[in-house]
């Protein structure tokens, strides 16, 4: 399923909130100010400020009244994120899977699911989801962070700084 691109994106306190204000139906003459699904919107806001319990509760309620696939994808993806915050990884994985069943090109759900896999030490699956996500959204900072977390888990590194004041560097050291 093809989901229209989001019109507005911003990151705040580590949470990415995406608001799409594209008109959905030309037959609809009525204009509604604000989100169409209040519970989903409030759930996302709660999650954004770190209130995972309320975020999950409101998102679940919003999903019950979701009327289209776009709301459902957003809801399940957010639910996945909320469960990750609560460290309920099986529930998170189930929510991410549901989001991807509806829309298999939803990069945020791949990103969230990759994070679940990293936390579950299922590194090969995490890498696969990161690759898929990056093919859908090549410039995603979020996916880069997930990839860094994967690499830190599988191949940890320590930063080293060499301060070289030598005027004549031996060829072998010249790297």
């Amino acid at each position: 399923m093809n989901i229209p691109r989001c019109g507005l994106m911003f990151a705040l306190l580590g949470i990415v909130v995406c608001a799409d204000a594209v008109g959905q139906s030309e037959n609809e003459a009525r204009t509604v100010i604000g989100p169409s699904n209040i519970d989903l919107a409030d759930g996302a806001t709660a999650l954004r400020v770190g209130n995972a319990v309320d975020g999950v509760r409101l998102t679940q309620r919003g999903l019950q009244s979701a009327t289209n696939d776009r709301d459902r994808v957003a809801g399940y993806s957010n639910l996945c994120a909320g469960y990750i915050m609560l460290d309920e990884l099986d529930a998170a994985l189930d929510s991410c899977n549901r989001a991807l069943e509806i829309d298999d090109e939803h990069w945020r759900s791949y990103s969230n699911r990759a994070l679940v896999y990293v936390k579950q030490k299922r590194y090969a699956e995490a890498e696969q989801d990161i690759d898929t996500g990056q093919s859908l959204s090549p410039n995603s900072r979020t996916l880069r962070i997930v990839k860094a977390m994967l690499l830190d888990a599988t191949d940890p590194v320590s930063p080293t700084i060499i301060i070289d004041d030598r005027r004549h560097v031996p060829p072998d050291d010249a790297e």
């Binding site: 799409d20 609809e28 191949d155 590194v157 930063p159 700084i161 060499i162 004041d165």
Partner: protein, 122 residues
Amino acid sequence: MLNSRLLLSVVLLLAAAVAADEPRVTYLRDATNNRVPLNTVAPVYPTIARRDRVEGDVQVCFNVDRDGRPFRIAVRSSTDRVFERPSIRAIRASRYVSLPEHQEVPGIKTCRTFRFRLESIG
């Protein structure tokens, strides 16, 4: 109909989980430099470079005044711009041994190369 959608990802909340450990510093020098370092400050390894596993080198050249303060600091060569600002900051914070009144301040520039590396600890 104005339709809003909210999509959310928790990943950035967990960004702090990506290690921000202090770098290990190795200092290489020979006796050919015209000024003697007094206080050598190491640059910070940029978080983004650390996250994206980027390594690189920056050579910074500068003059040192009589009191041992670097000035006219300029990047001479660099493999990645991400490393340049921390390198300049490190030079600016470093000090050299001051020269006595009777000794002329050499006009020749001093150069220092910072090599940013990531060592596997797995």
